[in-house]
Symmetry: C2
Subunit: 227 residues, 2 copies
DNA sequence: TTTACAATCAAGTGATCTATTGATTGAATT
DNA sequence: AATTCAATCAATAGATCACTTGATTGTAAA
């Protein structure tokens, strides 16, 4: 007996889902959500061997989740559109809602750093307009350069200790990094609060902001432009 | 070296994605989107052995996508909330957008039956309010009974030939069934057009309508109430 | 041409997944 | 208590997947 059109379509959908079915590939997608990258850079960031990263990336490509281009001897991978971030967000929301295990891990690792509610996109937009907050991007400098929220200051987490003076002491700091589970933002909020600052974190990160169609800025940003 | 909290969370997300990574499980979820069902009924509809269906359902349960309850000697499974339908929709949209293979299958099997644009939720709502359309639910009677769009007439596809007289000849018919790739609605539209009726299909099906928070009706519906 | 290097390919091993089979559990019925 | 039936569990064989190793391709530079 032959399978019908519906089964064939469902098999394709299942293939996309299976491509999302490995922690390493989800982490690769998270990094690709920041900016396009070469295989070697991705492998290093996710902690994979080059060959292994290459094969994972090719699985993602077969599933239509990423695309690539060659430039000289480098091959750069990128997300195949903002729909990928939307799908990842839907996956995250579903897992957060119905998986007790996610809740347990989050409580264990993140809870003490995150007693306050995270800030929603809407709330951040309103407070930015009112000029009430300092928006802090704690990702590495190169990721910031490839795209960030408008008006954000970039202080990578590793430098935060030494550069606290750059942040206005009067205004609340709202920190963000790569996504909802990027630990940088949690750490930054904890560090700032430990120094008596008012700080909260954005509910997710740069890719989700961009996928939501909200404005983004690129390139370096002068300090004057920010303060 | 131990894996950090992010890897642990991503592994959980990957587990949910893997649970979606098999055509049979997607089909089970599609049927569960219509109404709660016993294992035996699901196995029969999807064409699986009882043991196999049971094991697939348990994988879905471990991933937090479905829940179950025992009633007498039957165990009924149901979706773990409308978020599951949202996630399935996100998966479908991403696959439709970026997988050439999906497009190829769709063209090959569905295109000739579907030359007209499907009707969106918004358009259907507007035309229902204006009383311009006959809404036709071509799913089996029991699925209709568990929930359907308000004002819909239920004529299962198998009976459509004999019951054409029940449909107003003046008004456009909008048909729907289980979801975006349920073949019933395509077939119904083709059959109606072959008899000179004006007919289109809804862009997706009952579960997506319900998950979107739009009104649904339950129980049998008298013919008078409809016409 | 030779060299260098990013990335992919190919092959192999151990692990995980799928589907079947037959045994077992749990609740209702006789 | 014995029977019946829905569903799960357990064991198995075959398929697919993940990761490593070493060879290969493709481009740029020497």
């Amino acid at each position: 007996m032959s399978i019908g059109p519906k089964q064939a379509i469902l098999a394709e959908f299942a293939g996309v889902a299976r491509a999302l079915g490995h922690a390493h590939r989800l982490e690769l997608l998270e990094h690709l959500g920041q900016s396009e990258r070469g295989v070697d850079a991705l492998a290093a960031r996710v902690g994979l061997s080059l060959a292994n990263a290459s094969q994972h990336l090719q699985q993602l490509r077969r599933a239509g989740l990423v695309e690539n281009r060659r430039e000289g001897k480098f091959i750069y991978y990128r997300l195949a559109g903002d729909g990928v971030t939307d799908l990842l967000t839907a996956l995250r929301l579903q897992a957060e809602r119905n998986l007790a295990e996610v809740d347990r891990i989050r409580r264990g690792y993140f809870a003490e750093r995150d007693s306050l509610e995270p800030v929603s996109h809407e709330e951040l937009l309103a407070r930015m307009e009112a000029g009430l907050v300092t928006l802090l991007d704690v990702r590495p400098q190169d990721e910031f350069g490839h795209g960030h929220l408008p008006g954000a200051v970039n202080i990578p987490l590793s430098e935060l200790q030494d550069r606290l003076t750059e942040l206005d002491t009067e205004r609340e700091v709202i920190a963000y990094c790569r996504g909802a589970y990027c630990v940088f933002a949690f750490e930054a909020v904890a560090a700032l609060r430990a120094r008596g600052r008012t700080a909260r974190r954005l509910i997710d990160g740069f890719p989700e902001w961009k996928a939501a169609g909200l404005p983004v800025a690129t390139g370096e940003i002068s300090r004057e432009e920010v303060t």
